[in-house]
Symmetry: C2
Subunit: 332 residues, 2 copies
Amino acid sequence: MRIAVDAMGGDNAPKEIVKGCLRAAREFSDVTLVLYGKEEAIRNELSEDLPNIEIVHSEEVVKSDDDPVRSIRRKKESSMVKAAYSVKNGENHALFSAGNTGALLAAGTLIIGRMKGIDRPGLLATFPALSDKRAVFNMIDVGANADSKPLNINQYATLGTYYSKHVHGIVKPTVGLLNNGTEENKGNDLSKSSYALLKENDAINFIGNVEARDLLDGVADVVVTDGFTGNAVLKTIEGTAISLMSVIKGAIMDNGIKAKLGGLMLKDSLKEVKDLLDYSKYGGAVLFGLKAPVIKTHGSATEEPVYHTIRQIREMLESSLLEDLIRHFENQ
Amino acid sequence: MRIAVDAMGGDNAPKEIVKGCLRAAREFSDVTLVLYGKEEAIRNELSEDLPNIEIVHSEEVVKSDDDPVRSIRRKKESSMVKAAYSVKNGENHALFSAGNTGALLAAGTLIIGRMKGIDRPGLLATFPALSDKRAVFNMIDVGANADSKPLNINQYATLGTYYSKHVHGIVKPTVGLLNNGTEENKGNDLSKSSYALLKENDAINFIGNVEARDLLDGVADVVVTDGFTGNAVLKTIEGTAISLMSVIKGAIMDNGIKAKLGGLMLKDSLKEVKDLLDYSKYGGAVLFGLKAPVIKTHGSATEEPVYHTIRQIREMLESSLLEDLIRHFENQ
């Protein structure tokens, strides 16, 4: 399998992207990584010559503040656009970038194209569930469409169900609709209309409304919501975890020798907590509902998340996820 | 000043409500608390006879699963409805309940009534800011209107500004619009239209879009958003904090004697963190934009939050908050 990598996307490109690719290429001999970007800059970071790493020179770069759609239309020689066309043409099987999210969404939708039966792709992210109920859960949409419609949310539910089955091995994933209460009649116009569609969706195991309070407790395998709310929830989880860990660190450092000693003795345990929260090990966010996997990782991604994202793409390509989804939506 | 208390609302009513009222009545001799509810049940919890505690017997109770509007219309003899009418009639100056949120919103809007110039009241909650930038921030709407309009969000901004000035003493509170990016052109249809109105609002100090990731870092004094997103963010903060603290506790308990000892030495520091997160000390959520203060506290509230909520209502009544707001909206 061949993965097209935008080697110039993200704050640490190409250095960390190349390092992550090297690690993945060493481990997965069945994967060929095709790095799109400035050849010299990439070669400078390539500490090793591996048979399953290729480079395709591309002169331009889509910058993080470029207008998404315009940059995709005009920067034909950019690493992201050339990588996207290689997937559209069938030369490569998936697209990976840590660059401009909006531009990647546009490249995915406009160049690679939507799966038949999908109106708008959604962004799926995997989170750790901090309880015994389940190890992880998937939320979709975490930001592809700021104005999702009930139809989109219902399609996200099917997409998330297939993802949870194929990538996480859950036999009958539970699907919850993020809402402001658990009762059926709760919500805004959008969530009420979405509920009605989800209830009739035979492809999913719908368990009704779920509340944001219970997400990290592992209330469902798949949580569906519109892209505006999902984005706010994703960023609230990140922000709360970061603020809390920093307050705890402050409380350890500012409370005298006893607290400092206690902190030292707890170092391994707190590291464990930090690792548990680090969801980069579950890979990047999948722009889901396209003809091929398109994956976005954090702009600040370093070697480790890049490696995990490639591992995740390999899992998606190895399974029959895309084929099964295409078959499902063709039969609708 | 006289505060009408729904003594039967909440999971721990009337016991914890009465205990919190006793503490507040002892401390604030300028406040008279009028407890609405079953007289005998209230008397059983009243360990002391205080001149500034009165009881008004009411036979019925609005239950947590009662239909909000219907219960307000039909349960005329309930503690909540009778307390609301006492505020409407001017016998009392504010309404406090730990009961059914929807019913309290309905009682506030249908019985006490909206302030002139306010289309829909919003629910305002105060959170700790876990950085040096500011001590607290206010978010409105955290759940009164699942389908807020740009007009409502603009009114929330003015309401939040006055609250921050009068209750938290901030001279020129900054107002941020919760959005999925900080750039002006970001957002869904609702946030884009709201941005345009906020930019023209002379009564506020608008600083543009803010992201959920930066809320607890204290990015603004007032954060405005629609009630659906605000509710999701509020519950995500709660859920993430609870899950994280429980994971840390688990890491301390399950990692042998060294970690346990470390946890013991850190006990005071972790308690400090927990106290910092406990936003019940900032009082309850204000249903804001009505002719009188209507305050809701958690259904699970115990003596402590009840006491803090009465303290908060006293601060609202002591300041010229309501008068200033009424004057502002009359001049619009």
